[in-house]
Amino acid sequence: MAEVNLIINDQKVAVPEGSTILEAAQKLNIFIPTLCYDPELSRPASCRICVVEVKGSKNLVPSCAALVREGMVVYTDSPPVIEARKTILDLLLSNHPEDCLTCGRNGDCRLQDYAYLYGVRRGTFGGEKHSYALEDDNPFIVRDMNKCILCGKCVRMCAEVQGKNVVDFAYRGFHTKIAPAMDTTLSQSDCVFCGNCVAVCPVGALQEKGLRKSARTWEVKKVRTTCPYCGTGCNFDLNVKDGKVVGVTSCAGEVNGRALCVKGRFGYGFIHHPDRLTRPLIKKDGVLKEASWEEAINLVAARMGAIKEKYGPDALSVLASARCTNEENYLLSKLTRAVFGTNNIDHCARL
């Protein structure tokens, strides 16, 4: 593919034909803010926060959608650009709750990042503000449409990745709102609560209910792992606070990208459930009673050994697990064959 040469902030760069100005800037490690842009989704260029100055062009152009041309001269931080960005932020903040104090996305919010970066303390345009009711009627996602900046990423994620088309823009003008058909709640719509819209929301309009109530964004440590449910093998980040898993967030998964399903994203609560077994149990007089590890392990060894002694190794059998790790299944096979001395090992692959 042909290369196109251009100059951004006085630095030369060559990128393949068809690249956007944003992509060219990224190649030079030049930062351009974006709200509606997402590399995985279509590009409506609607938020305009990414505008840049192109020499010879009458207007500022959105760098996420404008394609590079040979000889283009671009400025990403010129005074008109900064002024435009500040005005956009001012306009957004003029109809955005001043709620960082307790907002679950405080610390992981693009609107906040850019307001800080460009020193926009608050919206200065007076006027009507939305006062939508908080949508909190399902156990997975909290929707606060007062915080929505109408970037439409959730709409595109739902349509282009999840293929569900549950939400779209509704109404017009100031009343424009993202909503399921007939402006119902998610739980009354066809939503399957994959939460992939939450993963792309740049502000606090869509939040994971459990996670954002229990931890601030800066308090969590993220540990990348593989999902324990079906056989797809999605990757995600476990969010850990004070030694507890408080939530799951998307990462760049090898199989799944950022997409997860409701079980992967919201099905982590079992980890710290009070029903978890915390001590070995031994049945005495028909009742399971707590015991020490030493006692339990010794009893298992003695009884399994005695059965092998009395009836032969094939009187023992083992069920391994499609839920446990490779290493554990390997060791259990080793225990079965090398120690118990039988090939009676299987698992529920057939179920």
């Binding site: 399902n138 293929g163 399957v192 540990v223 792992t225 593989t226 324990p228 079906c230 797809t232 093998g233 090898e254 199989v255 799944n256 399903c261 409701v262 079980k263 992967g264 919201f266 099905g267 079992f270 980890i271 710290h272 029903d275 077994l277 915390t278 001590r279 070995p280 031994i282 399971l288 339990a296 392990i297 298992v300 060894a301 009884r303 050994g305 059965i307 094939d314 023992l316 059998s317 069920l319 391994a320 499609a322 839920r323 446990c324 490779n326 299944n329 060791l331 259990l332 096979s333 225990l335 079965t336 090398a338 120690v339 090939n343 009676n344 090992i345 299987d346 698992h347 057939r350 179920l351």
Partner: protein, 527 residues
């Protein structure tokens, strides 16, 4: 899977048989939807009108258990209309003539009588599959959980070979596996007849290699018992002691009553799990295990990708990782089993397993690896059978249609099929304890066609008794045309609706998989 998940989006034609993909494999279904958006033709074979069936260009609401008739008929049309890939069949396969002879009888009109899929539809689907540049077949337990499960898979493989739709990108024969590490458990030799990497226990040199590595004089040569056989052996007193790690056969296995009787008959039962499951309640000793978030390790997904599981938090209470517990048991029985990390265990697996030979934790830090991956600089093998089948030539296995073992009759007039729901997983041990999923989806129901509901005079959401020859459960009724008349459906996620009390434990002769997708039941009103 012969091909990676990401390949599906690039297919021109997708034949999805017995897979409720959007509910059971939601993320794989995104690839199917992407392919459809890109213009691919989607054919869904499923008695139920599932969500994915709603997206299909052709939904074939096949009669439960008649897959072979359909698949053979597709092959019949493709051969009769000279649409098959002659070059592929000639150069890459064997036993084509026997196959051709078998399918000759399966005219679309004959198949229509068995499957209740219109002959014309069969013809159109056959032409679509054979004519596609890249066609892929996806299937799950809807194909395999039949007494002819293995033959069903043979029929699928025959079709793929006939059209040369295997051994290249965006095609292949792709079983979507239902559990996070069911592939890995098989790879690791948690099976009665093979050691790691499917090395046969019957082969002397294999046993010698493992015996030497494990420091024992000899290893047993006779293949062991499968799950179902174990339960039978336990009931007959041949198996006296059982060690169960992270499984819940009381809810997951067919004919639950029989499983409970078998486990109760044991002299000694150990269950190692994260919860006190229905199975663990029967145990003599219960060992508390760590959850996936509390240990390091690897899972192997349905496309054979080995990926890391990382410890995020300490185990709750005194719980321990399963690998640590196994080591402790081995040591208590006088066998030295000592590892300081799962990485060490993987190093041992790699030494003993040709297909895992190139896999190490160091490499996995950079990303997953798809086996076969024989040596450390091997990139992995996302697509199988390129240029050559594992066994050399691809063998056509001609198979004949056999009806399900249990047919509806006057006493039990309905067919019960079981499967999964989107919001829950397997025996519900985890998903019923999340504080979210069970809140949104708290109760299971039985799908009943309006025609049957009318005959039985059922109200929507009425609680009824479902009875089979083996047992009964009470469940609410959801009247819906998602199921055809004559078929009822529910999941096995909820202990309150332990549907496997009813299912038929009769098994496929080769893979020993139970026929969970078809059993005869009746619905009784609760007075």
């Amino acid at each position: 899977m012969t091909n990676p998940i990401s390949d599906i989006a690039g297919a021109d034609f997708i034949l999805a048989i017995g897979t409720n993909t959007t509910e059971s494999h939601p993320i794989i279904s995104l690839q199917v939807k992407k392919a459809v958006r890109n213009g691919a033709t989607l054919v869904v074979v499923d008695p139920r009108k599932t969500e994915i069936a709603g997206l299909a260009h052709y939904h074939l609401p096949i009669k439960s258990g008649s897959d072979i008739a359909l698949l053979n008929s597709l092959a019949h049309v493709i051969i009769a209309e000279e649409l098959w890939n002659k070059e592929f069949v000639a150069s890459r396969t064997e036993d084509f003539d026997a196959f051709k002879e078998t399918v000759a009888r399966y005219t679309p009109e004959y198949a229509e009588k068995i499957t209740s899929v219109a002959a014309q539809t069969i013809r159109e689907v056959a032409r679509g599959y054979a004519g596609a540049k890249n066609a892929t077949i996806l299937y799950t337990m809807g194909v395999t959980q039949h007494i002819c499960g293995t033959h069903n898979v043979f029929a699928i493989a025959n079709l793929a070979m006939l059209c040369g739709q295997v051994g290249k990108p965006h095609s292949g024969v792709n079983p979507l596996r239902g559990q996070n590490n069911v592939q890995g458990a098989c790879d690791m030799g948690a099976l009665p007849n093979v050691l790691t990497g499917y090395q046969s226990v019957a082969a002397d040199e294999v046993r010698a290699k493992f015996a030497a590595a494990w420091g024992v004089k000899e290893l047993p040569a006779r293949p062991g018992l499968t799950v179902g056989e174990m339960m039978e052996a336990a009931e007959h007193g041949k198996v006296k002691g059982m060690y169960i790690m992270g499984e819940n056969p009381v809810l997951s296995d067919p004919d639950a009553g029989h499983v409970v009787r078998a486990l109760e008959k044991l002299e000694f039962l150990v269950v190692q799990d994260i919860f006190l499951t229905e199975t663990a309640r029967l145990a003599d000793v219960v060992l508390p295990a760590a959850s996936f978030a509390e240990k390091d390790g690897t899972f192997t997904n349905t496309e054979r990708r080995v990926q890391r599981v990382r410890k995020a938090v300490e185990p709750v209470g005194e719980a321990r990782a399963d690998w640590e517990i196994i080591c402790a048991v081995a040591r208590a029985m006088g066998y030295p089993m000592n590892y300081s990390t799962p990485a060490e265990i993987m190093a041992e697996i790699a030494r003993l397993t040709p297909s895992y030979g190139g896999i190490s934790y160091e490499r996995l830090e950079k990303g997953g690896l798809v086996w076969p991956c024989p040596v450390l600089d091997h990139p992995g093998t996302p697509v199988l059978h390129v240029g050559k089948f594992a066994r050399g030539l691809g063998k056509f296995h001609p198979v004949e249609y056999v009806p399900p073992a249990e047919q509806p009759d006057e006493q039990f007039p309905l067919v019960l099929s079981t499967g999964r729901r989107h919001f829950h997983y397997h025996t519900g041990t985890m998903t019923l304890r999340t504080g979210a999923l069970e809140v949104y989806y708290p109760e299971e129901y039985l799908e009943v066609n309006p025609a049957d509901a009318c005959v039985l005079n059922l109200e929507n959401w009425e609680k009824v008794r479902v009875v089979s020859r083996r047992g009964e459960v009470e469940v609410r009724v959801c009247i819906t045309d998602r199921v055809p008349a004559g078929l009822v459906f529910t999941s096995f996620h909820f202990p309150e609706v332990a549907i496997n009390k009813l299912t038929n434990p009769v098994r496929d002769a080769i893979a020993k998989i139970p026929e969970l997708k078809v059993c005869a039941v009746r619905i009784e009103k609760i007075a």
